[in-house]
Amino acid sequence: MELINTFFNWDVMVRAFPILLRGLGNTVLLGCVTIVIGTIAGLLLCLVRLYAVRPIQLLAILYIDVFRALPILVLLILVYYALPFVGIRLDSFTSATMALSMVLAAFTAEVCRAGIQNVPKGQFEAAASLGMPFWKSMRKIILPQAIRVIIPPLTSNSISVFKDTALASVVAMPDLLKQANDAQAMMANPTPLIGAALIYLAILWPLVRLVGYLEARNQRAVAR
């Protein structure tokens, strides 16, 4: 009974719920904006990595390596606390969006590269022999075939980055975790934190299942 009163206190939960909801709104917004920007940037980065002139390719490789190696938290703190020293002052939402999308773009670029390289050479040649220009054959022939391989790891990376939105609380963004933490302090009870954890689970668990389903479907398609 004592345990339930401490961790699952209904009164506290009811009072904290609106606060959590506000945080959830920010988290979802941050997550979605990051996923959209990071995915588009990642695809472009991948095309540069694969098809640009050599020196620019090397820059893309450098970018991808660095941002896959750098911990997101370190990057976020650099953007938020270090950039002001050179006069660039970004609010917490912008800082978090930037840091998270920069990292997601690097991971997405690698995923897309694997997907594109998985398309047989003959497909590129058939499109080229019909006189299709590069961008057209990418859009109509190559990417539609690559996308099946790309989607599961892309979804998986998106889940990771959505979880990493919680790091934004470090730069004082009122996301779900920060709101829950504040509510916990205010109400001197950890129930809001439990609530936040349950909300993360409710959003991400179905997505994790979805990745599993997509991967299994691809396995079956390969086996055929």
Binding site: P120, G122, Q123, E125, A126, A127, A128, S129, L130, G131, M132, P133, F134, K136, K140, I141, P144, Q145
Partner: protein, 249 residues
């Protein structure tokens, strides 16, 4: 077929190509006259594929000049795409687009490259598909067709761009024996219609039937060029003689 004023469909002069330090094409000189049917044969690794792939620049040559329909290739991408629109290519492994239906395979290039309206592109596609007896399967996907059917669709896909030169790279060598015939038949009928064709194949029956000239290649060189009767009866080149004796007729 769009009529092109240039009397030569393709011309290669002193073309050389290296893969790293391997000399894959040695001073190739070749003229393909409008309406001409040429069969290219030779041992594996002799450079047959490399030669015809240089014509539409799926492989870049390192020296010499190549002109297609009277236009000398400069390496400019825009020019190349324009030239490729008039040069059809049929591959050993068909290379149909697996995510598109047969009909979509045929209309995608005319629509997106030549800006042909969909209705007109589909009419043209159905015309070519019925010529190869695949019209009823237009809405199937390539994986649902037999190898022979897929290769015929690949030919139809090329024809939908209304090319004035067709390149074939061993179009029947990936097929089960019982399907070779139907593809060769399609190619023969194409030849009868006056299409200019450059065909890498070891189907000597086909060469006898339609070729104006047979070209024998070895070690990256054109060793012999002769009309089929002459080539098969009394090849001048020693290596061609050995090659022919090894072929099962």
């Amino acid at each position: 077929m769009t009529s092109s004023p240039a009397p030569l469909a393709a011309q290669m002069s002193d073309v050389n190509k290296w893969y790293n330090d391997y000399h894959a094409l040695r001073s190739i000189n070749l003229e393909v006259a409008r309406g001409e049917r040429i069969v290219v044969c030779g041992p594996s690794g002799s450079g047959k594929s490399t030669m015809i792939r240089c014509i539409n620049q799926l492989e870049k040559h390192d020296s010499g000049t190549i002109a297609v329909n009277g236009v000398t290739l400069t390496g400019d991408l825009k020019q190349l795409n324009t030239i490729r629109q008039d040069v059809g290519m049929v591959f050993q492994h068909f290379n149909l687009f697996p995510h598109l239906s047969v009909l979509e395979n045929c209309v995608i290039a005319p629509m997106s490259v030549r800006n042909v309206p969909r209705k007109q592109a589909e009419e043209m596609a159905m015309h070519y598909l019925s010529r190869i007896h695949i019209a009823e399967q237009a809405h199937k996907f390539p994986s649902q067709l037999s190898g022979g059917q897929q290769q015929r669709v690949a030919i139809a896909r090329s024809l939908c761009m209304q090319p004035n030169l067709m390149l074939f790279d061993e179009p029947t060598s990936a097929l089960d024996p019982e399907m070779v015939h139907e593809v060769l038949e399609t190619m023969v009928s194409l030849a009868r219609d006056g299409m200019t064709m450059l065909v890498v194949t070891h189907e000597m029956g086909f060469a006898r039937k339609v070729a104006d000239r047979v070209i024998f290649m070895d070690h990256g060189e054109i060793c012999e060029t002769a009309p089929p009767e002459e080539f098969f009866k009394s090849p001048q080149n020693e290596r061609a003689r050995v090659f022919l004796s090894q072929l099962i007729h």
